[in-house]
Chain length 136, copies 2
DNA sequence: GCTAAAGCTTGCCCTTAGGGTAAGGTCAAC
DNA sequence: GTTGACCTTACCCTAAGGGCAAGCTTTAGC
């Protein structure tokens, strides 16, 4: 028994282990985030532990709202031993600004909508402050 | 001169007056928010002031983040003299909850990402807390 | 050894709310 | 009469996958 044998798993196993769907994994490969996976003679994709780790990286990055394009850049830096953390931080801060922007927009919507809702009686009458507010 | 003549405008004029694009107006018509617009003999769409008002309504609602489907419901209530403001308020509060949900998700992302960025030196070295955090 | 179920493959259409472009008809000004 | 601005429909594109179908492979049970 060779302990150096890499344990290879099919896409379904990889999905289970990473918490992604098989569809996502194929999509990430097609999008160029992952190198083309090795295949069995029958054409089944096989993943080793390093590739599983990459998939985990992608999952975490997606969970933080990074786009596929941004993750592509992040992975490039991740793999690059000559990277500077400055580059990574720049990418992160660009995304952070995007998030802050979206939060601000949504909060503005929320504020206006809340005001409209608060001034609407919500009773049986047709008169409605929300509709009036939208008509303006 | 008949002051009752309805002033009709083409789609380009309607776009200018409402701040929408002609493409949006056609899209809203196709999506069923608007009745099919009247046409000139040449097939140009024509809008009267009531239709312009509806377009304004749609624009306000979109600005508050309502989806096309939600706006369809809102317009239905708007046109219905027998509506109750309760129904309108319910729709608004559903959407308000969606917004609050999104804000919460984004703020959670923001928080985590900010922590990672704060712990990243952002210098010339390859060691990077952000990449480490994503790898986890 | 046979068969059924589960797993894998590719390919296609669907989602939101429009943007972009093309090919062609129409209108107004010069 | 022609040029330029405006209008029409039709088609493809976006982001990040989900869902489904048809067909091949592997595995489990008998």
């Amino acid at each position: 028994m060779n302990t150096l044998v890499k344990t290879l798993v099919t896409i379904g196993q990889a999905a289970k282990q990473t918490g992604l769907s098989a569809k996502m994994i194929r999509y990430y490969e097609e999008a160029g985030l992952l190198l083309k996976a090795n295949r069995t003679d029958a054409g089944y994709r096989l993943y080793n532990s390093q590739q599983l780790q990459q998939l985990g990286f992608i999952k975490q990055a997606r969970a933080l709202g990074f786009s596929i394009a941004q993750i592509s850049s992040l992975l490039g830096l991740w793999r690059d031993p000559n990277r500077s953390s400055r580059e990574v931080k720049q990418l992160a801060e660009v995304h952070l600004d995007e998030i802050k922007q979206k939060v601000a927009e949504l909060q503005q919507m929320q504020k206006v909508l809340q005001q409209l809702a608060d001034s609407c009686c919500g009773d049986d009458q047709p008169q409605c402050a929300i509709l009036d507010g939208l008509q303006r």
